[in-house]
Symmetry: none
């Protein structure tokens, strides 16, 4: 790792710790909320919570890996100097996390729509498979040390990405229009938030294409991916919860849910 200023190091360090806490808290919120929704929506909340739980685990690992990758020493002037420790920061944790959570994020969106069983399985397989392919194709570019390799794999990874967006807006469009009126807007919001947060990842991926230098790239990439994860996992999870509660009230009534 290149050397960072103490401020840069601390910013990323605290962002990772914040994200661990947020993901763990959202997990518990979603799982406790299972008892407040109808039978048909419990699995959606189980999976939304799982996504945040898996992310919490990985942010704990990323946090420790970041801590281990640098030595902090106080100089004679009292300032803290940050130097690379020689241990590699393991960027792969992010990809391992996404390989698990990104297909699940699409599945939670499908589950909360409550399509027919056949449609649920077929959409989950298609979207989940495309998501896994997108992550796998992105990784060789992320660890590449030259820009052309990063561009090549990034572009390949964009193919399943565009397919997923197309499925979300065209393939699922009819199903969304069939949602009950009081949740249609929420489902659209969840879709839009998924799209917006996912659009953030390629932008972060492209930071190294810019003129920014070493440590700024590192900080930009880490903080950028962290914000995108917070929105895509915790933010979308809370929306899924709101959809599940409203649909439960409409379908089961207040009494049936307990």
């Amino acid at each position: 790792m290149e050397n960072l200023s103490f401020g840069q190091y601390s910013l990323v360090y605290n962002a990772f710790s914040f994200t661990f806490a947020t993901m763990a808290a959202t997990t518990l919120f979603l799982w406790l909320g299972r008892s407040q929704v109808g039978h048909a929506y419990k699995t959606a909340l189980t999976i939304s919570g799982l996504v945040c739980a898996i992310a919490a685990y990985h942010y704990l690992r990323i946090f420790q890996s970041w801590e281990g990758a640098f030595n902090i020493e106080q100089g004679v002037t009292g300032d803290f100097n940050v130097t690379a420790s020689g241990y590699a920061f393991n960027q792969a944790y992010r990809y391992v996390d996404w390989l698990l959570t990104v297909p699940l994020l699409l599945i939670e969106l499908i589950l909360v729509m409550r399509l027919t069983e056949k449609e649920t399985v077929s959409k989950s397989l298609k979207l989940g498979g495309a998501a896994a392919l997108m992550i796998i194709l992105g990784y060789p570019g992320e660890i590449a040390t030259d820009i052309p390799t990063r561009v090549l794999w990034g572009t390949l990874s964009a193919i399943p990405f565009v397919y997923i967006i197309w499925q979300l807006f065209v393939g699922l469009g009819a199903s969304i229009e069939n949602q009950p009126e009081n949740v249609r807007e929420l489902v659209k919001k969840a879709r839009l938030l998924t799209f917006a947060s996912w659009g953030f990842y390629p932008i972060v991926y492209m930071i190294p294409y810019t003129n920014l230098s070493g440590s700024n790239v590192t900080v930009g990439v880490e903080v950028g991916y962290t914000i995108a994860d917070l929105i895509a996992k915790a933010g979308v999870g809370v929306l899924i919860y709101m959809i599940a509660v409203r649909k439960s009230q409409a379908e089961y009534g207040d009494k049936a849910v307990g």
Copy 2:
């Protein structure tokens, strides 16, 4: 341990971390799902979750053992060099895990079929006992340093293996045909996935018989067993959950489950 390239080391390292996360997530998914199935199927989900929980524990240990078995140092060119640390990588964790989980995997398959109590107990004892014997006979071969010893114990271990497969396809065949129509295919899939993933283990076991050299054998064995464990435990667990949900809906209806 022989020396590995940094890429080989990282592949196994990340595969172990990924598997810990997947096993822990599947455990929670299966246990949370207990509230969504009928009374008769709760034990099947409890045990499927236990299998994944035991595996999560062992993958955490295996991950730490792998980390401790190597030293990573950054050379002057910035590349990372991986050398054996002198601590042994503990392959026994896998066998201890299997000794517990493989009999439980067969029992979860039997439980979800909901046979008579007498049949459930007798099949569980027979299949569970054969599974334990298979693991115990395989271990001396796994830690053997010469091929003939590995072949000898591997062949002995194959006897209970063949008995289990015969029981699954012939002994349980009639019971599977008696399953309700909408789950018969799922039960067959669970049996086939068990068979397919189990067929993977002997193939991995035989990797050292090939012409591959030191570090490739290590990486092949570790990644191979890890993929087989993911399918046999998390994959079969999710199928067991789907069978339990469908059978519950048929037998208890939506209301009785809560």
